[in-house]
């Protein structure tokens, strides 16, 4: 079936370093991709999104890269801060399948001071 997976279940970085979280997706027909951040005891929080007709999108300290050739998505966090510590999920959506988001397992990011 359809699935979105992550290469690394855990990532530990030093405060101030850049972080890169990767994601592989299997549905080449997906139109839209989202990165969510989930802190302990909270629901997923939107970080950044990208549509399938783009290959890069930048936000504040975050950048998402989409490589449709190899069905790969990445989230880059610049100057990682302790407040960035959380579990990060990528999710995909196909517009012809309505609003159903397909999530990956998640990567836990731990930022060392």
């Amino acid at each position: 079936g359809e699935s979105v997976g992550l290469h690394l279940p855990t990532l530990s970085v030093q405060e101030g370093d850049n972080s890169i979280i990767n994601c592989a997706y299997s549905n080449s027909a997906s139109d839209y991709f989202i990165w969510y951040k989930q802190e302990s005891g909270k629901g997923p929080q939107f970080i950044i999104d990208i549509r399938s007709n783009m290959d890069k999108r930048q936000g504040q300290r975050v950048t998402v890269l989409l490589n449709k050739t190899v069905k790969h998505l990445s989230l880059q966090i610049a100057a990682t801060q302790p407040g960035d510590s959380a579990v990060y999920f990528c999710a995909e959506l196909s517009y012809n399948q309505g609003g159903k988001l397909i999530f990956g397992q998640g990567t836990e990011l731990s930022v060392k001071p």
């Binding site: 629901g43 939107f46 999104d49 999920f89 609003g99 999530f103 998640g106």
Partner: protein
């Protein structure tokens, strides 16, 4: 402007019982989706409601049912609870005609004894 609100925050039930979880969407949103998130996993889509009807359903048994009210709020009902139903249940909302991402509540933590 209140975001997505869910109640209760925590719930403990025993096997065989029934449970009802509630969700109020973000102001202005008309579409509600429910997700189940097992510990250490990404959220799994249960179903989506729009205009008081179930529009899309994931791979969940009929024990999982829902309802949407005229004010767009929604309920998730689970009958004949099993130990495996223990999870965080998340509600997400969006405006159907918008391509904006779904907003999530902080979920209801359901524990089955």
């Amino acid at each position: 402007d209140a975001g997505v609100t869910q109640s209760p925050t925590h719930l403990i039930k025993t096997r065989g019982q029934q449970v009802t979880l509630r969700c109020s969407p973000k102001s202005g949103h008309d579409t509600v989706s429910w997700y189940q998130q097992a510990l250490g996993q990404g959220p799994q889509f249960i179903f989506q409601y729009y205009e008081e009807e179930e529009r899309q359903r994931g791979n969940f048994p009929d024990r999982f049912s829902g309802h949407q009210f005229p004010n767009y709020s929604s309920e998730l009902n689970v009958n004949a609870l099993l130990l495996g139903d223990s999870a965080l249940y998340l509600c997400a909302s969006r405006t159907r005609r918008s391509n904006q991402p779904q907003h999530f509540g902080d979920g209801t933590r359901l524990s089955i004894l």
